[in-house]
Symmetry: C2
Subunit: 132 residues, 2 copies
Amino acid sequence: MPYLLNQAADVTSREFEATYKAKYGMLRTEWRVVFHLGRYGSLTAKEICDRARVHKTKVSRAVHALESKKFLSRKTLPDDRRHETLSLTKTGSRVFADLCEQAQLFDAKLMAEFSKSERAMMRKFLIRVAKF
Amino acid sequence: MPYLLNQAADVTSREFEATYKAKYGMLRTEWRVVFHLGRYGSLTAKEICDRARVHKTKVSRAVHALESKKFLSRKTLPDDRRHETLSLTKTGSRVFADLCEQAQLFDAKLMAEFSKSERAMMRKFLIRVAKF
DNA sequence: ACTTGTTAGTTACAAAAGCAACTATTATTC
DNA sequence: GAATAATAGTTGCTTTTGTAACTAACAAGT
């Protein structure tokens, strides 16, 4: 089962990876960070680590890359100067919107051959396995 | 969906990875090669690449590593000296058997909370998505 | 207030993956 | 049958990831 999951994950993400790589020169982790910020609003790096289950060094590097691309900005919190909130810039939001749309299209295409109930079951299953 | 698949794949394979890493110092690709050889008998490196969807350099390196661990042996085919058939040694077979058992246990544990029909559906779904 | 511990994030170094060029062997085509 | 193309596998170099040690800021206990 892990093997099947890996294969499926690989096949599906490779394809979409090509999109954001070609369009914005983004890496997988960078897209994940953008996605989380776009979806959940401003977050700290730590929160992204926890939600996305990505190691903090990966997030740290992705944040630097995205910052230099002007896709996000950070602001140190005055009440605890260890934290910094990350938020998408206008450019970043546009990128997010664009890629989100692409992702949706991709997802729809992928799921087209399955019934509504199958899709629901799948989702439930994966969420359970992924321990969300 | 790709996101969910990735998370699920990650969670499940990390755990099992620890097993073969600790027991035999094997890397993910190495386990995959052993698995394919154990499951389908002797194969060439190319066949493993295609079946397991792994790049040939990764397979090449995994084969070297496994060879130096005496888990597999290779034999150049006389009729086409470009190919070499890979097969598990006795040690390799034992390793495969052991890890297979572990994998089965792990799988059973993972799937325990799902009904038979759910499992069957999942399997079907993943196979379809992974384009097998 | 000062040691001790924790938490957020970074950096440096090591391991692994990806990519492109290479060798050696066989197939093809003119 | 020589030239060209194709295939299996390897090697070297670059990029990405993983790990562990580090800095900086805060928290708690004594």
